[in-house]
Symmetry: C2
Subunit: 249 residues, 2 copies
DNA sequence: CGTTCTCTTGACTCATCTCAAATCTGGTGG
DNA sequence: CCACCAGATTTGAGATGAGTCAAGAGAACG
């Protein structure tokens, strides 16, 4: 997932962009894309590289084109909590804010469609389609953050792992448009440590619960980074939230 | 805090509104306020009353004028997590979304400046000042949600309680502009149960940790709903996050 | 002045963390 | 191609923070 070989010319056309219809530019007209084109550039970060440090002035603003980045905060004594998972089309940076609020780290190799911040902010002011899209995306992120809060505050370790698997499976199914015929197959773009930081657990507990779900037949590990889910409804059941009846959306 | 007697005529002028400069209308020009005036009405809910149910069509949209409301989600087996705390000037409802995502409940008596949803959405589209303010407020909420995620995922019960006290103390100090001379005094607008739901704890643990902080002299309970903080820096220290050096912002 | 609800406190349990060691993995140089 | 190494992952054993269950103390209300 998400590591598909991606060849981006330095000046690839927005129209050909893989995230054209889901990113901040989704609502833009061709004429508006031209303006974005003028202030954008691509930049790639290696897995593990820090893209921005909490508290520093905002110098990266743009969209994730490929790869996975994480937003996280660290307590004085080293405890760390991931507070955002940025997948392709997600927006990095807070428009019109002076500083980054959280550490942004590349979890895999990450390519960003990066904008010059002042220029971008000027463009946002002048382009209702951009501002509207930004509002929509921010509202979506807020909803996701709130679901995540339910997970952090009230779910058991097993439910947390199952929830994470369900989120990744769903996203991957969406992305690749695969049918659910004999189970969903997806790759884990996160290390055990990243999962632990995501879920508010230790790596040992993450490992143990993954083993437990494997033993219960809920998930099958093809290898340590590829998971098959034979029965998505069973997985959702383990995740605890009964919201929807198992639709792969 | 926040329960100051409030007399709102059914058609109070926006210009006289206590939240005029912090709510969704903050960036509006007088001419734009007139349009908002035309579609607004006040409504008051009793403490404990449910303002909106998760999943139902959105029929309440507007600003909290006075009182405290909570956003929360409940798991099938009854576990509940609060995911938002709405104080005066905060916005209720998701513009342009068909349904409410979370239960909205009045924690104290709550007065809302309520808008007709379709009219309001139309106005948002036509009024950049409104849309911009909505984006700013949503970004702030997202930041708050992420700090909260750190609390839920990584803090101990004692740190959670201290963090909550610090948040309430800070908000109250802001609101009343009081000096920090001999400690901050503020009221607890939440029951033990609401605090537990906020912090991802049980009421017993909340009670125990409040007692512990009291015994340690970090907080003083004037009565069960009024707290004095003699040394705000000491409280921040207990809260675990070292971000700022104790400024009451 | 009961009644009811909220809050506090105690005793015990259990899920998750901590510390420690074994195993697996991918990459490197011989 | 293979042995070795460093990092990632798994597994085990024991400690502990927070939950559960239960009872008692205050406060609010009629």
């Amino acid at each position: 997932m998400l590591q598909a070989p991606l060849i981006l010319q330095e000046h690839s056309r927005c129209a050909d962009c893989p995230i054209r219809h889901r990113a901040v530019c989704a609502y833009c007209e061709p004429a508006e894309l031209v303006k974005l084109d003028a202030i954008k550039s691509y930049k790639t970060y290696k897995a593990g590289e820090t893209i921005a440090w909490a508290g520093e002035p905002m110098d990266v603003i743009g969209s994730v084109v490929s790869g996975v980045a994480t937003l996280s905060r660290t307590l004085a004594d080293g405890r760390r909590q991931m507070v955002g998972l940025l997948l392709p089309s997600d927006f990095i940076g807070r428009p019109c804010r002076p500083a980054v609020a959280f550490d942004v780290v590349a979890a895999s190799d990450v390519t960003i469609c990066r904008f010059n911040a002042p220029e971008f902010e000027k463009l946002v002011r002048a382009t209702p389609a951009l501002e509207r899209r930004l509002l929509d995306m921010t509202l979506d992120e807020l909803d996701a953050a709130r679901d995540w809060m339910l997970l952090l505050g009230r779910k058991t370790a097993r439910e947390k792992i199952a929830s994470l698997m369900a989120i990744l499976a769903r996203r991957d199914a969406n992305l690749t448009q695969q049918t659910v015929a004999d189970g969903i197959l997806f790759s884990l773009p996160l290390t055990r440590e990243a999962m632990a930081d995501y879920l508010g657990l230790t790596i040992e507990t993450v490992s143990r619960q993954i083993s437990a779900l494997k033993k219960a037949g809920i998930i099958i590990l093809e290898d340590s980074r590829h998971v098959r889910v034979p029965d998505f409804v069973a997985l959702l059941d383990e995740a605890g939230d009964d919201s929807d009846g198992g639709m792969v959306s």
